[in-house]
């Protein structure tokens, strides 16, 4: 993965920048020793690493503002970082950058059940937002798999999703307002506890902008009352196409499950060997979960089972107890770990129209043979968000490159059938160079125009989202 050359002028001024940062931050919030900055050299896309020039850990919006004002003055690129769990390299440093980590900003600022929101500092982890409102039986809906570790700051940057977004939406649908520090250090308040924007929907474009428009330090999030209960049904089919048809029929019937998860043969086997969840030996497995009171769940599951039966399932298991529900989910939730035991893997994140599922799975199978790399598919089937996991051997020369080329082919396929490159992980550096496959020059120009307005010097989170050649003129002009 190509990254721009570090700016030698910036590198030469490291000491001066450090001195200025130490004037506005406590000593323990500024990391400059190369042995310590190394801790920030990568995020969860560990194949790419680059230690930053400096890292800072501010504790308040004011400190973030001071840091950004200094970096803006000095022309130093800034890479914002939540918990560093990005799978797309969204927080990959450049050698001449300052990493701005928000991890120390994790306070709950306000909880308001009558108005159904919580305001937090964005270094707070996703799961601990729910933790803060659980005593009143509320929860924060977006639930990315990394929710134990990932920060709200990163969720907002990547517009993170999760398994339950078919019903509850993704981050952007649950974000009401932000306090954001602009690259020049000025602080803006956008949105709040009220609904919708009175002007242009700036909140909508900030969410998912991968930390390139500003550093969000505080967020107002919608919280919801927990449903009375939830229960899954597991079904196995001998044919991907039939499983896909079953999903479509369930949705058409008027039921809106909270989650519809799909796994293919390789994943089913891996998960079963790993977690012993009692999964059947079949081609396609669906886990469908519904919510409500016991009676409501019974009713919805009975309709779902009735639909499934029309498609001749090889297995149909309605959970009868909390233990059984946990067991059904256990396999799915350990999918990544199970695949990781088999080999190194690369996790993709394209989305396709649900109707294209059989065709796409067939093509992925053919590509898998061509490349000689096995692939397992886990899939949020209700919304078409695929997670093909390509197995490779990181220690085998050439395997990573082969895997990346295979991954790129799969993502292009997603685009070609009417879908997109990334459903919930973000573009980062990983899919940056594929953007031109999905978007025309004019499409990318429109997105970059937004960046021009928010960060005219192009200092925030450099070299992400846009192909380097497409953004080159702007980055050069800024230097």
């Amino acid at each position: 993965m190509e990254m721009p050359q570090p700016n030698p002028d910036v590198l030469a001024r490291k000491q001066a920048v450090l001195t200025r940062l130490l004037q506005v931050l406590p000593e323990d919030a500024v990391i400059h020793d190369p042995s310590e900055t190394r801790a920030y050299e990568c995020d969860a896309l560990t194949a790419y690493r680059c230690p930053p020039m400096l890292a800072v850990l501010p504790s308040s919006t004011q400190e973030v503002s001071d840091v950004l004002r200094i970096c803006h003055d000095e022309g130093v690129p800034v890479v914002p970082r939540g918990s560093g769990t990005s799978l797309a390299g969204g927080a990959l440093p450049t050698a001449d950058c300052v990493i701005l980590g928000v991890a120390r900003m994790n306070d709950v600022l306000e909880t308001d059940y009558d108005n159904r929101f919580i305001r937090v500092q964005t270094g707070r982890t996703n799961l601990s937002v729910t933790g803060a409102v659980e005593e009143e039986d509320f929860f924060y809906a977006p639930d990315p798999s990394s929710q134990l570790a990932c920060a709200i700051a990163g969720n907002i940057a990547m517009n993170s999703g999760g398994a339950h977004c078919l019903k509850y939406g993704v981050t952007t649908n649950n974000l009401l307002g932000v306090t954001m520090v602009m690259m020049d250090g000025s602080v803006v308040e956008i949105g709040g506890a009220h609904l919708d924007s009175g002007g242009l929907d700036l909140l909508g474009v900030i969410c998912g902008s991968e930390g390139q428009l500003g550093v969000v330090t505080e967020a107002t999030l919608r919280i919801l009352r927990k449903p009375e209960g939830a229960r899954p049904v597991l079904m196995g089919f001998d044919d991907n196409e039939v499983a896909g048809q079953c999903v479509s029929d369930i949705i058409k019937s008027g039921i809106l499950p909270v989650a519809i998860e799909f796994m293919d043969t390789l994943c089913i086997k891996a998960c079963e060997n790993f977690a012993h969840a009692g999964y059947p030996d079949c081609h396609a497995l669906l886990i469908v979960e519904v919510e409500g009171s016991d009676a409501e769940i019974d009713y919805q599951l009975s309709k779902i089972v009735e639909i499934a039966k029309r498609h001749n399932p090889v297995e149909l298991r309605e959970s009868q107890s909390a233990e059984e529900s946990a067991k059904i989910w256990l396999g799915r939730k350990s999918a990544f770990g199970a695949m990781g035991q088999m080999n190194d893997y690369m996790c993709l994140d394209g989305t396709i129209p649900v109707s294209a599922l059989p065709q796409v799975l067939r093509c992925i199978g053919e590509l898998s043979e061509d490349y000689g790399l096995p692939v397992g598919n886990v899939f949020h089937a209700g919304d078409g968000n695929m997670h093909p996991l390509i197995l490779f051997d990181a220690n085998k020369p050439g395997d990573l490159e082969k895997c990346e080329a295979f991954g790129a082919d799969i993502l292009k396929l997603c685009v070609d059938v009417g879908g997109c490159l990334t459903g919930e992980h973000g573009v980062g550096i990983e899919k940056r160079d594929l953007m031109s496959h999905q978007y025309s020059a004019a499409d990318l120009e429109a997105q970059m125009a937004v960046k021009d307005v928010f960060d005219p010097q192009w200092l925030l989170n450099p070299a992400k989202v846009f192909p380097l050649d497409v953004s080159q003129a702007r980055r050069m002009a800024a230097e």
Binding site: D114, N115, F138, C165, T172, N173, S186, V187, E189, G192, A193, H194, L195, D196, S197, G198, G199, L200, D201, G204, V205, G208, S209, R225, K226, E228, S248, I251, K252, G254, I255, A295, E296, Y299, Q300, T351, I352, P353, V354, S355, G382, G418, G419, C420, L421, G423, G426, V427, M435, Y439, S440, A442, D443, L444, E445, A446, Q447, V450, K451, V453
Partner: protein, 366 residues
């Protein structure tokens, strides 16, 4: 100007010599330049997959045509687009492009989300006549910046929409409306908040003072509705007798379209607030007529012609916009809530980049 294809529209925009008012059905009360760019020639549903909950339509497609197609499959636009015709006293044909451009959402917004939350993708022509697409037709998509949200509610000032793709939802099998007697906005918001913080999925929460009732809507499968209605009656029993209100559909259509204000003299304002602030805000408004929706978070106010509602409100969290008033009032006060300077600078910057010649609905949003 009435193009029938996106290409034609792009050519027209590229050749524009002066500003235009962009119109779909022209039902949203937008004034502006005499030259009108009509988008209602771009018409038709280009894709509808009920099993994927997705619909793609040309921007000029009548909302009625989309409603009919969805109805046939037992689905709907869950954000309940408001029909302004009665309120504004006009008779155009509302288009889906107009709904999206205005980010118009009805009572279900409080539970299901706004128009912008259901918008999956857009195609539009920018101020230089270039066709731009963003988003797509799939529900989960974080590929690049989300210009889809930015276009929703931009009232045509960033570009002329040519195509929109939307997430649709099943239409509920059964609907019940509950009424709880309340004397004033304070009591109403207490009832609505108590219902909205319950786990019983209330999909409408409104208060029309003249009815003396806080209204709650419960939707879904019949058995489930019956169960949740029962539970809510228990939860709310402390507030007074909880009665079933007849004719749910008409009740919520009237709230959606603000029909109690139709034909009544005066200006109509729409104010978005934190729900618990609603009682105090409504007191400050001194309105001739009020309607509260979204659990109190949306206030509709009928006031004397020319009233500067923002001056009456002073500082508050939220925004107040004019929906119906004489052009000179809109001119003097501005249709939309003025933004704080740093935010206004961002909005202005975006408009300048998307529409550098200020061709589209100039001045409408500031």
């Amino acid at each position: 100007m009435r193009p029938e294809t996106e290409t034609e529209l792009a050519e027209i925009v590229a050749g524009l010599q002066g500003p235009v008012r962009i119109a779909g059905g022209g039902t949203r009360g937008v004034d502006g330049p005499g030259a009108v760019l009509n988008v209602d020639g771009l018409r038709g549903i280009s894709l509808y997959e009920p099993g994927a909950l997705t619909l793609v339509a040309q921007a000029g497609t009548p909302v009625a045509e989309i409603d009919a197609a969805l109805e046939a499959e037992g689905q709907q636009l869950a954000f309940e687009p408001v029909d302004y015709r009665a309120l504004l006293g006009n008779s155009g044909e509302p288009t889906i492009g107009g709904v999206v451009a205005a980010n118009i959402s009805g009572p279900r917004r409080v539970q299901a989300g706004a128009c912008r939350d259901f918008l999956l993708g857009v195609r539009y022509v920018d101020g230089q006549g270039q066709v731009v697409k963003n988003g797509g037709r799939v529900m989960k998509n974080v590929t690049g910046y989300d210009l889809v949200k930015l276009m929703a509610g931009s009232w045509g000032t960033l570009g002329v929409l040519t195509e929109v793709s939307l997430k649709v939802l099943p239409k509920p099998e059964a609907v019940v409306t509950l009424g709880v007697p309340v004397a004033h906005a304070t009591g109403a918001v207490e009832v609505l908040s108590a219902a909205l913080r319950s786990p019983y999925e209330v999909s409408g929460a409104a208060f029309a003072p003249e009815t003396g009732q806080a209204l709650l809507r419960i939707e879904g499968f019949a058995d489930s509705v019956a169960y949740r209605v029962g539970r809510l009656q228990d939860v709310l029993s402390g507030f007074g007798e909880v009665a079933v209100v007849e004719d749910s559909d008409a009740t919520w259509r009237a709230i959606r379209d603000v029909t109690p204000f139709a034909g009544k003299e005066g200006d109509v304002w729409r104010i978005s607030v934190k729900p618990s602030d609603a009682p105090e805000i409504t007191a400050r408004l001194e309105a001739n007529k009020l309607l509260l929706d979204w659990g109190g978070g949306l206030i509709w106010a009928l006031v004397d012609e020319g009233t500067d509602v923002r001056a009456r409100l002073g500082g508050f969290q939220g925004h107040a916009s004019i929906v119906r008033a004489k052009p000179e009032t809109v001119q003097a006060l501005g249709r939309f809530q003025p933004e704080p300077a740093p935010v206004a600078a961002l909005s202005q910057g975006l408009r300048q980049r998307f529409d550098p010649k200020a061709l589209f609905n100039p001045g409408l949003m500031g």
